[in-house]
Symmetry: C2
Subunit: 310 residues, 2 copies
């Protein structure tokens, strides 16, 4: 039995309604024509804070009493910060001192308190533990947390509402597996879900093939920064194992090409990690498919680089 079920996702959908964006499932006839099949794109880059992370963060925070803390320099930080802002909570986000200034500024812009730590000399876990004890904060994990998985699953419920009945393959950008597990649960019996990961960080694909959690050797080296995690989660992996088809792996170049095609045909802005599922759907899949375009928080320089591929 999974730690999350469909009723948890339905409850999350009720909680986020009116707070999260009901994102469209886009389809471009010109893109379909270029690839000779139908491609549906769930535009989660249009979600509040620019990624699906807001769904899980809002669902979790709505059920947590008091204030919260999170470790993240990325999309989870912004999702938690903004959800806390809307729910009248204080959020403390622990970020490394070398995090990009724009991410620190954005997180503060959503009203969160940012606590910086030195990666080389300090432990973020110790800092977090101290904050939790001194200030009574609750830790919000980015994916290995049932309320977060249920929140991300609401994306899958919306896909089910919008997807043509004869399309039953869905690809999801996958880091720790929170979004993929939630979407797979929401679509159980309706569509087969495949995780998409960057080459060199295909821990989920290898874990699914091996039947047990595997770890990546590399810690950096892909532009798909939003979905670089060490291994699938202890809670997410059993769900992925039970429900998902084989993992798909994309190169950075394919992610950039998918960003360019999304810009051209769908008029949405994707970050590399948010384009991994589209890249997998276009370049490593045959037949009709839906993909989740999970986020759009990207630097202008990286985006211009992608645009040069149009």
């Amino acid at each position: 039995m999974d730690d999350v079920d469909l009723s948890d996702i339905q409850a999350a959908a009720d909680r986020i309604r009116g707070h999260a964006v009901r994102t469209p499932l886009l389809n471009a006839p010109t893109l379909d024509a270029a690839f000779g099949r139908r491609i549906y794109v769930k535009a989660e880059c249009l979600q509040r804070t620019g990624s699906f992370k807001f769904r899980g963060a809002f669902n979790a925070l709505s059920q947590i009493e008091g204030d919260v803390v999170a470790f993240s320099s990325g999309n989870h930080a912004q999702g938690v910060a903004h959800a806390a802002q809307l729910l009248g909570k204080r959020a403390v986000i622990v970020m490394p001192t070398d995090a990009p200034a724009v991410k620190v500024a954005n997180t503060r812009g959503y009203g969160a308190e940012v606590v910086l730590y030195d990666r080389d000399r300090e432990s973020r876990e110790e800092i977090g533990a101290q904050l939790m004890e001194e200030r009574g904060l609750t830790l919000v994990r980015p994916y290995d947390e049932p309320l977060v998985i249920a929140g991300q699953g609401t994306c899958g419920l919306e896909i089910a509402e919008d997807l043509p009945e004869d399309v039953d393959e869905v690809i999801v950008c996958c880091g720790g597996g929170g979004l993929t597990a939630g979407v797979a649960l929401a679509l159980e019996g309706r569509a087969r879900v495949h995780p998409a990961e960057p080459a060199g960080f295909d821990d989920v694909a290898r874990s699914l093939a091996a039947g047990a959690r595997q770890t990546n050797n590399a810690r950096s080296g892909s532009i798909c920064d939003a979905i670089l995690t060490e291994s699938p989660g202890a809670i997410t992996f059993p769900i992925l194992k039970r429900l998902c088809g084989a993992g798909l792996v994309v190169t950075d170049e394919e992610a950039l090409r998918a960003m360019a095609l999304a810009w051209q045909h769908l008029r949405i802005v994707l970050e590399p990690g948010g384009a991994a599922a589209l890249a997998a759907g276009l370049f490593h899949h045959a037949g009709d498919v839906a993909v989740v375009a999970s986020g759009g928080n990207v630097d202008a320089q990286v985006f211009s680089d992608a645009l040069s591929r149009v």
Copy 2:
């Protein structure tokens, strides 16, 4: 009495349901914070064919018997072509031989027949008249057509559904006035609508100020190509005059800055003419506002130019 009323728009909404994208009304807390007020953006760049034009085209074609012809090298051409494709009609689009190859290719990609004419030696009206007579085609005008105005008005009905009750100013990108008139009718009594135009092509703003239709001297010279028209329409202008507030005028530089801000904060792709209302809302308006981001069909080079302003 106007040539279009709310019941026409409601009928159009019933016809386009399931065919047009129900586009989201986006809001970015980071953009609001930067400008110190609330800014809502109706993302019509996500509409089928990349602009609101699909709404009016689909509504008109669904009520026209037989095949159709249109004069356009832009968003109207693509809207008519794709609407015809979905409705099982033949569309003939008359375009100048010097139209960009990508626009000709896109229009053909939506299944339309493209008839090219030489701007210097041929009259598109004569070519169109001949096609209508020989092949029994019906002309679909881009804005001075009640069914088209009613179709564009569906965008206004959706804004009314999503806009917070205490926001009552709406800005719309305005060429011939089809979208602006439709949205103004849909929002009558709910919000005040202002047209936004490029500097040098402010025929609607001047017409509203004068109380009678004015004409632009220039025929080119702004990057906002989607909304460069000679004068407001004979059908649209009385509606605009009765319902709209003062017209707002933006520079090309402001349109490019608005494109960059939309990219950064909303993760949507706008063309210059599609960003005019956002530019007006940001740089020529005070207080909370909703704007229609009307289209996103833009060249990579122009978009990269906008991105350099981030």
